[in-house]
Amino acid sequence: MSKYILPAFIIIVILWAFIKKVPIYDNFVKGSKESITLILSIFPYICAVLIAVELFSLSGLNSYLAKIMSPVLSFLGMPPELCEILIIRPLSGNGSLALLEGIYKTYGVDSYIARCASVIVGASETVFYVGTVYFSTTKVKKLRYAIPISLIACYVGAMASCILCRFM
């Protein structure tokens, strides 16, 4: 069902535009042009973030931090196996999907740990990516309390995920 939504939506928009005599080709040219200027302004931010994320996950710092964090997780009633994915989730979308696949393979897709991890990844976003990309074309340099609050909210959601997965 969900596979029809996207193409159907685009068809409706194009037909509607045709009826209203909005120039479709011109708008596609305009959109593609805008896309290039947009990427030019956000690329430096993506690049800097991804260099840091790659260093962070491949240097072993990530798994080292996960070891330190695991007693905290056990204390909060969350499986300590989720440490690594909880640390990577706000940093990298692809990184967390790769870890998720690893968890599926190690513990089984339908295990409690795997379901928790799925819900955590599904119900949160790449906080640092959103923080850098969304502000990239503005003059804003100081994000004030934006990142701490986003992180707290995401981790509250993660704790809720683990509790919810026990009953559902």
Binding site: V13, S59, T132, T138, C154, S161
Partner: protein, 211 residues
């Protein structure tokens, strides 16, 4: 951001120089080149979405959606212009439906409309970022796909807990952001009373500066 970035790369590099110094540089390059690959993919995705969005503007669909969600967005983002609210609405709709590719350019445009020209993010900008980073997606399609590809018996079992967890995290974020905004406002209101008491430099005669 500068502090987080510096700590992350510095500690990682120090660890690498101990463990495997030869791989440090290649890891940095691989990070940069995955950014390049991502950028190329994003150009393609945004080209399609920005085209569709500009058609949606043309036929007035954006304005209609804005009217529909206005009661909610106007209350959340007090004092924002109509154009900003329109982008916010479109960004939320794209996020709800899981169209990440459309949500990002709209989010960037919304931020541009909300900025007040200073280097500090406004309370509304922060609230917008918080909502965007707690994910408001109704159906985690990517995860369900990954689960069924890994041979799950019930790949869509996670829909309900994901939805509830998303609601919990988003509500937490909004409440915390609103509390912070109120707290800062009170601080700001109490500051101007102190300021005028300080001596002003312009009252000093120019001649004295030579001493």
């Amino acid at each position: 951001m500068n502090l987080v970035f510096t700590i992350m790369i510095l500690v990682s590099l120090v660890m690498l120089i101990v463990v495997s110094p030869e791989s440090a540089f290649s890891i940095m390059i691989s990070g940069a080149s995955s950014a390049l690959k991502l950028a190329f993919t994003l150009i393609a995705i945004y080209a399609i979405w920005l085209s569709v969005l500009s058609l949606m503007d043309g036929i007035g669909l954006s304005k209609m959606l804005n009217k529909l969600f206005r009661p909610l967005t106007k209350r959340l983002f007090k004092g924002e212009s109509d154009l900003a609210l329109e982008y916010i609405t479109l960004n939320f709709s794209a996020n709800l439906l899981g169209m990440g590719g459309a949500a990002t350019p709209l989010g960037i445009k919304a931020m541009e409309c909300m900025q007040d020209g200073s280097e500090k993010a406004t309370d509304n900008m922060i609230l917008f970022m918080v909502i965007n980073s707690t994910s408001i997606q109704l159906l985690p399609a990517t995860i369900i796909g990954l689960r069924s590809a890994s041979g799950s018996n019930a790949p869509s079992d996670i829909i309900l807990p994901s939805l509830l967890a998303t609601i919990i995290s988003t509500v937490t974020g909004v409440v915390l952001a609103k509390i912070c905004a109120k707290f800062r406002k009170k601080e700001k209101e109490s500051q101007p009373e102190v300021l005028p008491k300080q001596p002003l430099y312009s009252t000093q005669p120019l001649g004295q500066a030579k001493k």
